[in-house]
């Protein structure tokens, strides 16, 4: 496996080899699927839309509908206004969504199509909406695209219509699975707090099999709810790469204060999330959550010898990787290499701070990196465990390192989008995955006389 990968130091300074990110529009498409009755629309040539739908479908194993402006060479030279107007007309006539959420590609961004003007000139049926965001693929990553789309939902739709703010909280969950959105909602519900989650793909990308097919499944934040986010008294922006921009827009446009928090993965980030809700909403933390938390700590103590001191390489999207890094430190593991493909030097600063706090030395953190680099580091000094997306499986095999699949995308396993890694339940699941993976490896490698019944 990967015999072509060179041994020893290499000169890799430009471009990406085995990228640890993808491009903006897929993030925007995912975000738009979290609006109820929404059809995401890709303004570019249709290959992008085909790839993005395909990729999301492979991760979620569920239908992902989106349309494209289907640029031809002519439109690419003279502009895609006619293509978008025709699209909007056809989409409402044939598919009748509540709302179309348009994003762009490197094609329409390079030619400079003016989307607000084109949308204004389009035929939009009474009561229907068309929103847009700019998602140039040559800047940031899929997380940037997600962030841009959520920000646009706020800037197009959110309104402060009430004189007094309502007793409700906006939760911006960030680029996480529907299972995580369900778990976050469950925590807020248990605390007895009114909430609007934006976006919310639960019920859309983890929809049940029934005897009734729905073009637009039950889930998703409704347009009315998005409008009403302007009336909330607080926003919690979970994960700064994915959610800060929309949170800031809610401050600016609707005067809703925003508290940025880490994605609630791991004990500390979940504690912070719950403490913030407790203090800001002046509620008590229910016993059920105290019990869940206690179960996590109990498990950590019970199982620490399965993983404590093990070196782990973590890669994936910045918000998730930062929280995961903090959690493995809580578990007593050593995050040896921490990498994201998404650019942003804050990533390195935040992770370095954790290294210092836990007195971890000799670890490497990198933003805007790629998996070829990660592989080179691992060849130089190996780790005991890899945590990241399916793309890590080649390194895992080549270097014989076990892989815990976490993040986006996971293309070679099922069920994961329905199961949370957030909240205390998510902690338990992560501990189980890490522990089992290392124990499976111990069992595999043990000689007969060291092979044991109880571990």
């Amino acid at each position: 496996m990967l015999e072509c990968v060179p041994e020893g130091p290499v000169e890799h300074t430009i471009g990406k080899i085995n990228p640890a990110k993808t491009c903006q529009p897929i993030g925007a498409m995912y975000a738009a699927l979290g609006i109820h009755g929404c059809l995401p629309h890709s303004h570019g040539s249709q290959g992008c839309c085909a790839y993005h739908r395909m990729h999301l479908t492979r991760h979620f194993r569920d239908q992902v509908l989106a349309s494209s402006s289907s640029f031809t060479e002519g439109a690419s030279v003279f502009g895609g206004a006619a293509n978008l107007k025709t699209s909007i007309k056809n989409i409402f006539a044939i598919y009748n969504p509540e709302i179309i959420a348009v994003h762009t590609t490197c094609l329409s961004e390079t030619i400079g199509d003016d989307l607000p003007t084109i949308i204004k000139q389009s035929e939009i049926p009474e009561g229907k909406r068309v929103i847009h965001t700019n998602t140039p693929s040559y800047s940031g990553s899929h997380i940037t695209g997600f962030s841009n789309m959520v920000k646009s939902m706020v800037s197009y739709l959110a309104e402060a219509t009430e004189p007094v703010k309502k007793d409700q909280v906006n939760i911006l969950p960030g680029f996480v699975n529907p299972g995580d959105m369900r778990e976050i909602r469950k925590i807020v519900d248990e605390m007895g707090i009114q909430m609007i989650m934006l976006p919310d793909t639960s019920g859309v990308l983890d929809a049940p099999q029934t005897n009734k097919y729905a073009l637009f499944p039950d889930g998703g934040t409704t347009v009315d709810e998005i409008v009403d986010t302007g009336n909330s008294s607080l926003t919690l922006a979970l994960g700064s790469w994915a959610s800060d921009a929309a949170g800031a827009m809610l401050v600016e446009k609707c005067n809703v204060p925003c508290i940025p928090l880490r994605t609630p993965i791991g004990l500390k980030a979940t504690d912070d999330f719950i403490m913030t809700l407790k203090e800001k909403c002046e509620v008590d933390v229910p016993k059920s959550l105290t019990v869940e938390r206690g179960q996590v700590v109990d498990t950590l103590i019970d199982t620490h010898f399965h993983y404590q001191g093990k070196k782990v390489a973590i890669f994936g999207d910045p918000d998730i990787v930062i929280s995961l890094t903090e959690f493995v430190l809580t578990m007593g593991m050593i995050p040896k290499y921490v990498l994201t493909g998404t650019p942003g030097s804050r990533f390195e600063t935040e992770v370095r701070k954790m290294f210092e706090e836990y007195q971890v030395e000799g670890s490497i953190v990198k933003a805007d990196g790629d998996l070829f680099e990660l592989h080179q580091w691992i060849k130089e000094e190996p780790v005991d465990l890899l945590m990241g997306t399916t793309y890590g499986k080649y390194i895992a095999r080549a270097e014989d390192i076990p892989l815990v699949r976490v993040g986006f995308p996971i293309l070679d396993r099922a069920v994961h989008p329905l199961m949370p890694i957030t909240g205390y339940r998510g902690c338990l699941r992560l501990i189980e995955m890490v522990s089992n993976t290392l124990l499976d490896r111990r069992d595999r490698d043990a000689s007969d006389e060291d092979y044991e019944m109880v571990l």
Binding site: E3, C4, P6, V10, E11, H12, T13, I14, G15, K16, I17, N18, P19, K21, T22, C23, P25, G44, S45, Q46, G47, C48, A50, Y51, H52, M54, T57, R58, D62, Q63, L65, S67, S68, S70, F71, T72, E73, G74, S76, N83, S87, K89, N90, I94, Y95, C106, L107, T110, I111, P136, S137, Y138, S139, Q209, N211, Y213, A214, L215, G341, F372
Partner: protein
């Protein structure tokens, strides 16, 4: 279960007038009394309609170029295109005598990852530097550079960068101007890839033919799930030597010497007919359309090939291999045939499988009632005889056509390539469809439907109206069909199974299809409490 015209008309009702006018021409309900009905194909996609099509880059890099195992393919563009085409088509490759493992790059993804300044100031320097670094690190035998949407717009000159890099490093560095907006689908990318391989790779080797061998090339076979290995196994058993495959598990070393073949075998007509034709024009090598999907289709293809060789040994050996393989696989297929027989299916696949698999389904007693391609041309639907009547429209006119002349040294007449007399060749041509493909239409039954570039809406309506037992398409449609209660199998990726080609493939396919329909969960969709309330309702009524 044929669809009637009323249902079809009703389906088109919600369309705006322009869309209705357009889509009507892409839908043909077969009426055997009408002769060959014309279908419109290879025209631009209706914006907003939720087409299944991809782009030119996907057709070039993803389909034709990507599988070449010993070439590094650098995508010049932002990160997405390279990322999505990384490891997602299952064109398998392995090391062999010609290609050692350190020259296999299939698990890797190379991209210039263009950033905003590259769009503003151009990306040529970045590309040149990346080629330098990649050569230094990986020492590849050859490099491909594939363009994405912004490249053509900002005016990066791929040809100039690759030419310079090629001179600097002493290896072929090939440029493909396969920007996503070119043409109307993946199809344009096939054509562009064919042109570059024909101009730069095929025939550039110095191998000489061994007259004691009968050499074939397998064109348009991408070794999805190991298909071409299974086809090669059968061909080798009969005694043919396969020189090169375009491009499943292929190496640039093998492709260079494809001109020494006696005969080209064309599996996917759509993606590779350009090279089949150009090799005929340049070298005189005849080509034969084959289909190794389904036992009956394989038998016909093997017998056609044997007839073309005109060699009694091959004809005899062919029958021996067929008898041996049938004895092995037919009992297995018969077991699954009992489950499948009498069932109906839809087939919406790219540009060839919607036809090929009809043979395999027929082996299982199933009928395809709706079939369509994403991006095939009229000749794939109606047969190559319509080619002179196809007009290239404005959207496709910028795809270059190469001007191929007979090679002054290597050109030979077709019968000379086959080592037979002209008379014998003419006689064989009357029996075997050399240089021809009849298309899907003749194989469809009366009352069935052919749909070009079928969109989500049409697929959904047709599933509701016709309630097929199985839905064959790609990953994007799979879960839609299943949510509608119809088992779906992917005919692009084979749902990570395979091979589906060849005799072994027929067995695998039969098992997979039967399992898709009989998996117990289909019986559990309605919860017992809803069944109870239904029953109560009935009693009350």
């Amino acid at each position: 279960m044929a669809i009637n015209q009323e249902v079809l008309d009703e389906m088109l009702l919600p369309y705006p007038d322009k869309v209705k006018k357009n889509r009507t021409k892409h839908i043909v309900r077969k009426n055997p009394e009408e002769g060959c009905q014309q279908i419109e194909a290879n025209t631009r996609t209706v914006p907003g309609i939720i087409s299944q099509r991809g782009c030119c880059y996907a057709g070039c890099k993803g389909v034709v170029i990507g599988p070449i195992k010993d070439m590094i393919t650098i995508t010049h563009g932002p990160v997405g295109c390279a990322y999505y085409s990384w490891g997602t088509r299952r064109n398998k490759a392995r090391a062999d005598d010609i290609t050692p493992p350190e020259h296999i790059y299939g698990a890797m993804c190379f991209v210039t990852d263009m950033q905003e300044p590259d769009i503003v100031f151009g990306g040529e320097k970045k590309l040149a530097k990346m080629i330098d670094e990649v050569v230094e690190m990986f020492h590849p035998r050859a490099i491909n550079v594939c363009a994405t949407c912004p490249i053509g717009l900002i005016g990066d000159d791929l040809g100039a960068v690759t030419k310079k890099a090629s001179e600097k490093h002493g290896i072929p560095v090939l440029a493909y101007n396969c920007e996503g907006y070119k043409g109307v689908s993946q199809s344009a990318g096939h054509h562009i890839a064919n042109n570059v391989l024909m101009e730069n790779v095929i025939g550039s080797g110095d191998a000489e033919k061994n007259p004691s061998e009968f050499v074939v090339n397998l064109l348009g076979e991408y070794n999805i799930g190991g298909d071409s290995w299974e086809i090669e196994r059968i061909l080798n058993d009969i005694g043919y030597r396969v020189q090169g495959v375009l491009t499943g598990d292929s190496s640039v070393e093998e492709m260079k010497n494809m001109h020494i073949a006696n005969l080209n075998l064309v599996m996917c007509h759509r993606s590779i007919n350009y090279i089949a034709e150009m090799m005929e024009e340049k070298y005189g090598i005849p080509w034969l359309k084959i289909n190794f999907i389904g036992v009956e289709a394989i038998k016909k293809s093997l017998r056609d090939i044997a007839q073309v060789t005109g060699d009694e040994t091959f004809i005899r050996k062919t029958e021996e291999v067929i008898a041996r393989e049938e004895a092995r696989v037919l009992p297995v297929i018969e077991h699954f045939r009992k489950i499948c027989t009498g069932k109906t299916a839809f087939a919406f696949v790219g540009g060839s499988r919607s036809h090929h698999y009809q043979y395999l389904l027929r082996d299982l007693g199933m009928e395809v009632v709706v079939a369509g391609y994403e991006f095939a041309h009229r000749d794939d639907y109606e047969g190559r005889q319509v080619i002179p009547t196809i007009k290239t429209d404005a959207d496709s006119k910028n795809i270059p056509e190469l001007d191929i002349k007979p090679d002054p040294e290597l050109y030979k007449e077709a019968h000379e390539h086959l080592n037979i007399t002209k008379e014998k060749f003419d006689e064989i041509c009357s029996r075997v469809p050399l240089g021809n493909y009849e298309g899907m239409y003749p194989d469809m039954n009366g009352g069935t439907l052919m749909i070009d570039d079928c969109n989500h809406y049409e697929a959904e309506q047709l599933v509701k109206d016709l309630k097929p037992d199985l839905f064959f398409a790609g990953v994007r449609d799979k879960y839609i069909a299943q949510k509608m209660g119809v088992p779906a199998k992917q005919l692009h990726s084979y749902d990570y199974s395979g091979p589906y080609a060849g005799f072994n493939g027929a067995m695998n396919f039969a098992r997979d299809v039967a399992n898709a329909m009989t998996t117990p969960a289909w019986k559990f969709i309605t919860p017992p409490w809803e069944k109870e309330s239904e029953n109560t309702g009935d009693t009350n009524a």
